[in-house]
């Protein structure tokens, strides 16, 4: 993570700086006799962006809802900003941002009117270092809804509604932001704007972000760390590069020489092999491709390994959860 001026972080940290913002240990959740989460453990530091990946029904939404304080867990220890979400008070709540999937709620409210009203809820929790709420005009500008400020929410397009959802999530200048599949239904431009926004929040405001997504490309672009949840456990935790190295120590290299196509799996990152290749053949080489394991390879390998290995008939795709 980019270094942040300590003047930004110090006053807002009511908990000690080295304490993780999210601290989840051996989190378990069962519905009836079905165990959805079987011991999830991970931590997040201030300003980190975490992407939670996993197949449908793996328990991503359940995990995030437990952290948001919307759902009671069966067992394990969870701490968000130093507080157990099961007993979080309103002051604690004011430091969180939750981006919900809207459907047709508040359809008659005008965009600016709704943001203004929601924002007021955060005013009692404003402190000099973190003025709450965020100014409505500024917020509209950040999410690109300035031109729609006076429109009733029900007249917004799907993508515009999602932008509004994000705006509502950050109106209180949260220290932790939870996003459950934030970019579902975004067009490529909206997606890029959203990525800029997340970077801005984590870099400039030191916001800790936990998001779930099915878009591996998005996870790779946004996240400092990627968590893969499968079979009720975190089966991988690290940056995209770290995970790639974990899955495969080789790099695939393809080239053409004398009209013929060659391929070779080289140890490590492949640089040494390519250097040698050029030293030997020089200008005869064309159409060079160096392909290291992608996040998709990692994801597939991890999930597959889990499903064929430890997994038994009970998962995935069980019970309560449908995401």
């Amino acid at each position: 993570m980019a270094a942040t001026p300590s003047s930004v972080t110090a006053p807002r940290a009511t908990d000690s700086a080295d304490q993780p913002v999210l601290d989840v240990r051996d989190l378990r959740m069962s519905y009836g006799s079905t165990d959805v989460l079987k011991g999830v453990t991970f931590q997040a530091r201030r300003g980190e962006v975490l992407a939670l990946l996993g197949p449908n029904g793996a328990g991503k939404t359940t995990t995030i809802e437990i952290l948001e304080g919307f759902r009671m867990r069966s067992a394990g220890q969870v701490s968000v900003l130093g507080t157990d979400p099961a007993h979080g008070d309103e002051r604690w709540r004011s430091r969180l941002g939750v981006v919900l999937q809207s459907w047709r709620d508040h359809g008659k409210w005008r965009v600016a009117e709704l943001l203004e009203h929601f924002g007021r809820h955060y005013a009692p929790y404003s402190i000099p270092a973190v003025p709450r709420p965020r100014d409505t005009a500024e917020l509209l500008d950040i999410v690109g809804l300035t031109d729609h400020a006076d429109k009733p929410v029900r007249t917004l397009s799907g993508g515009q509604r999602r932008r509004l959802d994000v705006a509502i999530g950050i109106v209180g200048r949260p220290e932790v932001l939870f996003l459950d599949e934030p970019t579902a239904g975004f067009d490529p431009e909206a997606r890029r704007d959203f990525h800029d926004l997340v970077h801005r929040l984590s870099d400039l405001e030191d916001t800790t972000v936990l998001l779930t997504t099915h878009d591996l490309d998005e996870a790779e672009k946004l996240a400092d760390r990627i968590l893969i949840l499968a079979g009720g456990r975190i089966v991988a935790d690290g940056s995209a590069d770290q995970l790639a190295r974990q899955v495969s120590r080789s790099t695939e290299i393809r080239w053409t020489r004398g009209g013929q196509r060659f391929a070779h799996a080289a140890e490590g990152d492949g640089t040494a092999f390519v250097r040698e290749l050029f030293a030997q053949y020089g200008e005869e080489i064309s159409e060079l491709e160096v392909r290291r394991a992608t996040l998709e390879d990692v994801y597939m390998a991890m999930v597959h390994r889990h499903e064929t290995g430890a997994a038994t008939g009970e998962e995935p795709g069980f019970g309560e959860e449908t995401r």
């Binding site: 809820h121 009692p124 449908t322």
Partner: protein
């Protein structure tokens, strides 16, 4: 403490904004005031009947005059119980409530807001009947004391009915089945509560059923506020029973204000994105 106050203020604001939205949405306004309009038309027909068979014959009272207070009481119950239950059930289904849950003191401000907006629209729906009725029908008795009676009965009536509406709105899984069940219940209660027919004309065991529920007492209180003193002859015990009215409505209010927060807290605690998603799925399947 200060934050509870600020939640109260936010609730007032929210209620006012929602009330304004209703006034500015022709369809909503129409559906809220349709009942009022229907009742006014019914009352117009009843105005021809001069109560020949009762002790009230010759007082210049028509059936419409006698029924109007009960109609006001019915509108109050319709608003306080039905519309609140219905909007809360809808708000749960469409995610309004979950959004409130994500805000600090959000559920509190949401509930205050609902109480304010529902009260305002309920009082409006009563005024829409009261205004033409006093112009068109004879036999009302307007006194300062009567006006005061109308005010406290309305206020206490809202306190007695809104918690019931909130509890029902929290318990029923979907707004459509709720409306159907409540409408049938309310129509049954109207029959036995002396709204259109003086209670003294009904068998006595029905009196006891009626007197358990707020509707009868609201009707009685409204009659006490609007009708001439002579009309008391058709009431149970020949009295307006002001103390009993305040007592029964008060008990409903107190019990409601104790029970509702417990039920609401349990309901709000269960709201989450995935539950909402499932409801959205079900709602979609119904509409397809």
């Amino acid at each position: 403490m200060t934050t509870t106050l600020s939640a109260l203020r936010l609730g007032l604001l929210r209620g006012w904004i929602e009330f304004r939205h209703t006034l500015l949405t022709p369809f909503d306004l129409f559906s809220y005031l349709l009942n009022s309009a229907i009742f006014v038309v019914v009352l117009l027909f009843m105005d021809r009947n001069e109560m020949e068979d009762t002790q009230l014959y010759g007082l210049g009272l028509t059936q419409a005059t006698l029924a109007l207070p009960g109609v006001l009481a019915t509108m109050l119950v319709l608003g306080g119980v039905m519309s609140l239950a219905q909007t809360m059930s809808t708000d749960r289904e469409d995610g309004t409530l979950l959004r409130a849950r994500a805000l600090p003191r959000g559920v509190q401000s949401y509930l205050f807001g609902k109480v304010v907006s529902t009260s305002l629209i309920t009082v409006l729906s009563m005024l829409v009947i009261l205004a033409p009725a006093v112009l068109l029908f004879d036999g009302f008795q307007f006194t300062a004391q009567g006006a005061l009676t109308l005010l406290w009965v309305t206020a206490l009536g809202l306190l007695a009915t809104l918690p019931v509406g909130a509890v029902l709105g929290s318990l029923f899984p979907n707004p459509r089945s709720l409306v159907l069940v409540l409408m049938l219940l309310l129509m049954g209660l109207m029959l036995v509560s002396g709204i259109f027919v003086p209670l003294t004309m009904l068998p006595e065991w029905l009196h006891w059923v009626a007197q358990v529920f707020p509707l009868y007492w609201l009707g009685l209180g409204m009659r006490a506020g609007l009708l001439p003193d002579a009309a008391v002859a058709e009431e149970i015990g020949g009295s307006w029973r002001t103390l009993e009215t305040a007592g029964v409505l008060g008990v409903w209010a107190v019990v409601g204000l104790v029970v509702a927060p417990i039920v609401l807290r349990r309901m709000a605690r269960r709201e989450s994105g995935s539950i909402l998603e499932r409801r959205r799925h079900q709602a979609m399947q119904r509409t397809v």
